[in-house]
């Protein structure tokens, strides 16, 4: 883990938010950031961004393509010769 970028005591919201991508990437504990102790707005922003990143894991893949996709792939492969004119893959059922 890299060290968190050091922040000045009198950092304002614009300066803090410009540093925010680096702070997130540093995986530092942002609750200790001085600016967040006194700025409710930036504290809410950080909570929201952390929440969005955590909720993104809900979007892991859950759907499969329909069986016709594989059928179409098989059909296309059968029609596609390899570089030497023969199929790159032996057709299913031939091995």
């Amino acid at each position: 883990m890299t060290d968190a970028p050091s922040l000045g005591k009198n950092m304002n919201c614009v300066e803090f938010q410009e540093k925010l991508p680096e702070l997130f990437e540093s995986q530092a504990d942002l609750t200790t950031e001085e600016h967040l102790q006194t700025c409710e707005n930036c504290a809410a922003l950080v909570r929201d961004l952390e929440y969005i990143a955590s909720q993104a894991k809900l979007l892991l893949p859950i759907h499969d393509p329909s069986p016709s996709v594989w059928e179409n792939i098989q059909t296309a492969i059968k029609q596609e010769p390899g570089a030497n004119g023969s199929p790159v893959l032996a057709p299913l059922g031939s091995s």
Partner: protein, 210 residues
């Protein structure tokens, strides 16, 4: 380290992100030698992630299935060139990402040039959030709401967000897939999250006024 610099890839990082799948290495080797059953096994192992990526980027089942098909046909043509320098799933994802980007460019959608997509204008970026403290997102977003908001991100933001926050790829892997700098990937991810926050908050405001 500056944002644009590359950084050393931690040893075996791809193993942490992509733990070995039983039988995959053997299937790759056999598919490279022309074994159809092994290629079918690779399809079965990876179809869900490739299809989900296509679906998220296109928002349309028919197009997503077409591009999934195209990605695996590309795999069929190129599997002989896979040398194991990265995890197979990362290599396949890169291939699928390229298929998606090519498709978006052909459709002439705005911001689908990778360079443009990853370097949107200032106007397109999220605003700094100075002063608005009316709504908090925590605890209020379900899967469907978030999915819809992601659909409304510009393609470049969406791609980096999906690859990093949903699929769990590291910035150096994303930079490799998208042929951009690590700093660029980090910057796009932050802008994507900021834009998502805007979208989610504006959705909440609409709901609260109904």
């Amino acid at each position: 380290m500056s944002a644009g610099q590359t950084q050393a890839k931690p040893a075996n990082q791809h193993l942490r992100r992509n733990p070995p799948i039983a039988g995959e290495a053997e299937a790759i080797e056999k598919a490279q030698s022309g074994d159809a059953k092994s290629f079918e096994m690779l399809y079965a192992l990876h179809k869900r992630r490739v299809y989900s990526l296509c679906l998220r980027m296109l928002g349309n089942v028919a197009e997503a299935e077409d591009l999934t098909q195209e990605a695996f046909l590309q795999l069929y043509r190129k599997i002989g060139t896979f040398r194991g320098d990265s995890a197979f799933s990362t290599w396949l994802h890169r291939l699928a990402v390229n298929v998606v980007l090519m498709h978006l460019r052909k459709k002439g959608l705005p911001q689908v040039s990778l360079e443009e997509t990853l370097e949107p204008s200032q106007d397109d970026g999220p605003r700094k959030d100075i002063g608005a403290r009316d709504l908090m997102l925590s605890g209020s977003i379900d899967r469907v709401t978030l999915e819809r908001a992601v659909e409304n991100l510009p393609p470049g933001y969406r791609l980096v967000f999906v690859l990093h926050d949903v699929e769990g790829y590291e910035h150096n892997e994303i930079a490799d897939m998208l042929d951009c700098s690590i700093g660029n990937s980090k910057s796009q991810l932050h802008k994507a999250r900021m834009k998502l926050r805007d979208l989610l908050r504006s959705g909440q405001r609409k709901e609260s006024t109904v």
